[in-house]
């Protein structure tokens, strides 16, 4: 929260500074990114280097971004949707194709990531990768050790086996309130194809989730960061970077809470946040310059060093801190990488089915 506030105030300072120096033609780029998702000095450096003023604004859910984009006239020149949202938005005609002649730094990108993002954006015509991550288990080492007698979690069994989760219920379990992440993850544990859209499979996932429902304190997509950090809960299914944030906050607070993150051995979902330019963007030239700047190896590395998310920039890896690049929970090794799966966007009918199943799991209705 503090970080977010200082970020916003910096953006305002930049804005007023630039407004003061506004000469004849002021070049601007309006960026809409996730909250707590950039080292603010990157934005300042970009302005220093190119003279383009950055109006930086933040959001906290894909749904919010999508609604703004679909309503049209969002006023943003660069936005950062997640892969499966991006795919549907491309179909709806929200984005414009990138002018790759203006993006020479595309050569720096990492094929391991680009070939996976092509699933959402065929040929990577509309977007470039900013960051990616996984959906795994964040947990309080000491409390899990006390409840289950194990030092490390390595399997989804801890979550999906009702007997095991029951032992953790008292100290608190959170799960992401995000059916499009949790249902495919449940499929993975049940050995069902993670891309399945069949009503029978969804019903099986629902049944498995209903069995563990009594032991889940809450389904929520952001509260678990603080809850883990404060030691209020002992386990959460969450997004990798968020859990690392909780880990750092716990370490800073120094109250004896040690948070760890694991990509379970069965495999986990891999997601991608993509930079893209809306079709109705006004400052297309500046947006391309911003994208190209973000793909500079030093810049991409700086971003990752600050937010602990892996990026899709191969050349940047030489500049990334050793503790990050060598941490298999952040940059998974080859074997783990092979086990990660991606999820395609759902058609409206399947989406409705999944939301309905999810409501039943979450509320019992």
């Amino acid at each position: 929260m503090k970080k977010k506030l200082s970020l916003l105030s910096t953006a305002t300072v930049i804005a007023t500074m630039m407004a003061g120096a506004a000469f004849a033609q002021e070049r601007v780029v309006n960026v809409y990114n996730w909250s707590d998702y950039i080292d603010e000095s990157i934005v300042q450096d970009f302005t220093k280097e190119t003279g383009i003023k950055v109006v930086y604004d933040v959001f906290d859910s894909n749904e919010l971004l999508e609604t703004k984009l679909l309503a049209g006239g969002s006023g943003y020149d660069v936005v950062v949707p997640t892969g499966n949202f991006l795919a549907r938005q491309i179909q709806a005609g929200v984005f414009q194709k990138l002018d790759k002649s203006k993006l020479p730094n595309l050569a720096n990108m990492w094929d391991v990531v680009s070939e996976r993002t092509a699933k959402y954006d065929p040929g990577n015509e509309y977007s470039i990768n900013y960051m990616w991550g996984t959906v795994g288990i964040g947990y309080n080492q000491k409390k899990v050790q006390e409840a289950l007698g194990i030092d490390k979690i390595d399997s989804w069994d801890v979550v999906f086996n009702p007997e095991k989760l029951a032992k953790l219920a008292d100290c608190g379990v959170y799960i992401l309130d995000s059916p499009t992440d949790i249902i495919p993850t449940t499929f993975k544990y049940l050995g069902i194809d993670t891309e399945s859209t069949s009503p029978e499979d969804i019903a099986k996932a629902e049944e498995a989730l209903l069995k563990i429902r009594p032991y889940v304190r809450k389904f929520h997509s952001s509260e678990y960061i603080n809850a883990l950090a404060n030691g209020d809960i002992c386990l959460a299914i969450g997004w990798s970077g968020d859990v690392f944030q909780a880990r750092d906050r716990a370490a800073e607070a120094d109250q004896g809470v040690i948070v760890d993150y694991v990509i379970p051995s069965e495999g986990a979902e891999m997601w991608f946040d993509q930079l893209a330019i809306p079709a109705d963007a006004k400052n297309i030239e500046e947006a391309h310059e911003f994208l190209n700047y973000m793909m500079k190896p030093e810049v991409a590395a700086k971003a990752t060093n600050y937010i602990y998310f892996p990026n899709g920039n191969k050349a940047s890896q030489a500049f990334i801190d050793k503790e990050i690049i060598d941490d298999p929970a952040i940059y998974p090794d080859e074997a783990t990488l092979a086990k990660l799966f991606t999820v395609s966007p759902y058609d409206p009918k399947t989406q409705r089915l999944i939301t309905r199943s999810w409501t039943k799991v979450v509320t019992g209705q």
Partner: protein
């Protein structure tokens, strides 16, 4: 007709001093009525018509995500073609899944319980304020309004800090040895009730206070002179006279509480089913703007129809009373 002749005759006699004045008065009194109507039209009726229109469309993967989209450029023929595409399928859909009905019922129930407790807490506060020395009243009123100076969201977050298992309330009760295990209030219905009652309490107190303050307290003295105990005087005199304030306060709390989304999301558990969350799911998770619009239209009707019936009944009662 009589008016027309009158104005004609007065127009024929420009010397008549009252004409201009009367016109001006008529105009201003009209204007005074027109302003609230314009407000209603602009900020209630037009948005409602737009939402209602979307509720008759179908979803599409497009910008905006529904069809048909009416555009003035297409001409009149296209407009009527598109008009025929509208239908009530989304409303039929709402009846096919018990989810929506249950969500409505549970929202109304949560709002009703919260309103009851807000009245229970708000009435004594308002009564005390109204009976306080006149010099204190502005300060007391100020204190009721004061919480509005802080963001609503931050105040709800503060309640999270109070109610959570390691929160202030549990620490206090544990240290006083009232309880030996922390109470689990956070993420339950109780937490939602506390949140709603706390947040909406000023809306209950203010109309109650204004009704009680205007009351003539010599009536109570008269009742007591005639042999009423203080309690029966309260029920026979004070409460009936404050009834308009009670009703206004209950409406002001109940109506926004039915559609409440933030408090159940932050303080309530996941198991709480409320119409606000259902609407959110339809709009954001399913990207189904038409169905979510239908949910919103029904919610509005559910709230407005009882209010209109109530107002109608009240107007009738007043007429009969005369």
């Amino acid at each position: 007709m009589a008016e027309a002749t009158a104005s004609l005759s007065s127009a024929a006699q420009p010397a008549a001093p009252s004409f201009g004045d009367r016109m001006f008065q008529a105009l201003t009194s009209r204007l005074v009525i027109i302003v609230p109507y314009l407000w209603l039209l602009l900020f209630f009726l037009i948005p409602f018509v737009i939402v209602f229109r979307i509720s008759l469309s179908q979803t599409a993967i497009a910008m905006p995500p529904y069809t048909p989209v009416f555009s003035l450029q297409d001409g009149l023929a296209a407009f009527f073609d598109q008009l025929r595409e509208l239908n009530f399928d989304n409303y039929v859909w709402l009846t096919e899944d018990p989810l929506y009905f249950n969500a409505y019922v549970s929202s109304v129930w949560i709002a009703a319980v919260s309103t009851f407790f807000a009245l229970l807490v708000g009435y004594p506060v308002a009564y005390g304020m109204a009976r306080a020395p006149a010099a204190w009243r502005p300060t007391l009123l100020m204190l009721v309004i004061l919480p509005f100076w802080t963001s609503f969201l931050i105040r709800v977050y503060a309640w999270m800090g109070i109610l959570k298992p390691e929160g202030l309330l549990n620490q206090l009760l544990l240290s006083l040895n009232v309880i030996d295990t922390p109470l689990l209030i956070m993420n339950t219905h109780t937490a939602i009730f506390i949140g709603i009652v706390y947040s909406y309490l000023p809306f209950m107190i203010l109309p109650l206070y204004s009704a009680l303050e205007k009351m003539d307290y010599s009536l109570i003295e008269a009742a007591q002179d005639l042999g009423c105990t203080p309690i029966s005087a309260f029920w026979k005199i004070t409460f009936p006279l404050s009834l308009p304030g009670v009703i206004a306060g209950c409406m002001l709390v109940f109506i926004p509480a039915v559609g409440e989304f933030v408090i159940p999301d932050l303080l309530g558990g996941s198991q709480t089913l409320m119409i606000g969350k259902t609407l959110w799911n339809e709009f954001f998770a399913n990207r189904d703007w038409p169905v979510s619009s239908a949910v919103a239209v029904i919610l509005l009707l559910l709230l407005i129809v009882p209010i209109m019936i109530f107002q109608f009944a009240q107007a009738r009662a007043q007429e009969q009373g005369r």
